[in-house]
C-alpha cells in the first residue's frame, strides 16, 4: 500500500509541476534542504517550527548568493485560495521568473499583483524544439 501510494504521489507530483519545470530548476540552481541550511536564506526559514517549505533552490553565481522562491516548493494551504504563504515571498521579490509549461496565452506581467515586482521573465521550455529555452523579456 505504501508503494502504491508513492507511485500515485509521484504521478500527482508530475501533474502538479512538470518534469520540464524540475529540469529548469536544476538548470538555475541546486535543490537544498532548508532545515539546518546555514547559507543565505532569502527570507526563508531553516527552522522546523517556522515552515517555509522543506526544500528550495539555491545557487552561487560569480560570488553572489542567490535564493529562489519557487512557488511550488513553498507551503501549500488547501484552505487559502490566495496561497499567501507563497505569495508573501514571491510578491516581495523584485525579479520573478515565470516558467510557462506550454506556450499557450502570452503571460502578462500584470497577472501577479505586487508593489515590489518590477521585472518578470517568462521562460518557455520546448523539449522537442532544437532551441531548448525560449526567453521572453518585458
Amino acid at each position: 500500500m505504501k508503494g502504491d501510494g508513492g507511485a500515485l504521489l509521484r504521478t500527482c507530483k508530475i501533474e502538479s509541476s512538470s518534469p520540464e519545470f524540475d529540469e529548469f530548476l536544476g538548470i538555475i540552481g541546486d535543490r537544498i534542504q532548508l532545515k539546518g541550511w546555514t547559507g543565505y536564506r532569502g527570507g526563508l526559514s531553516n527552522k522546523e517550527s517556522e515552515v517555509t517549505g522543506k526544500e528550495s533552490v539555491f545557487t552561487k553565481f560569480d560570488g553572489y548568493n542567490i535564493m529562489f522562491h519557487v512557488s511550488t516548493l513553498l507551503p501549500y494551504n488547501a484552505n487559502d485560495l490566495q496561497q499567501l504563504e507563497r505569495k508573501r515571498h514571491v510578491g516581495n521579490d523584485i525579479v520573478t521568473i515565470v516558467f510557462q509549461d506550454e506556450p499557450g496565452i502570452l503571460f502578462s506581467p500584470l497577472t501577479i499583483s505586487s508593489h515590489f515586482l518590477r521585472t518578470v521573465r517568462a521562460f518557455l521550455l520546448h523539449i522537442f524544439d532544437p532551441c531548448v529555452l525560449q526567453i521572453s523579456l518585458w
Binding site: S17, G42, Y76, V90, T96, I112
Partner: protein, 85 residues
C-alpha cells in the same frame, strides 16, 4: 577619521562602522574578521528571485500560486489524499 571625511566624503556612512571596528578590536586576529564582516555588510552579495510555475492556459495569480498542491513535501495537501488509498 577627520582625514577620511575630507578625503572621501562619500564614505561618511562607514564612519560608525570603522569606529566600532577600532574600538572593539584595535589589534589582533579579530580585526581581519571584523573587516571581512564590515565588507560583507557594505557589499550586497545576496539576492532572491521568485520563480512561479504557470500551466498552460493559466492567467490568474490564484491559479498559478495554487500549482504544485500535491507535492510530497506539502504534508497539508496530501494528508487526506493518502488516507483514501
Amino acid at each position: 577619521m577627520q582625514i577620511l571625511e575630507i578625503a572621501a566624503p562619500q564614505l561618511a556612512g562607514l564612519e560608525n562602522t570603522l569606529r566600532h571596528v577600532s574600538s572593539t578590536s584595535p589589534v589582533g586576529p579579530d580585526l581581519a574578521a571584523e573587516l571581512i564582516k564590515m565588507e560583507n555588510e557594505q557589499c550586497n552579495v545576496d539576492f532572491k528571485f521568485g520563480v512561479v510555475y504557470c500551466k498552460k492556459g493559466q492567467s490568474n495569480q490564484d491559479e498559478i500560486f495554487g500549482n504544485g498542491a500535491c507535492e510530497p513535501e506539502h504534508e497539508g495537501g496530501r494528508g487526506g489524499f493518502t488516507e483514501n488509498l
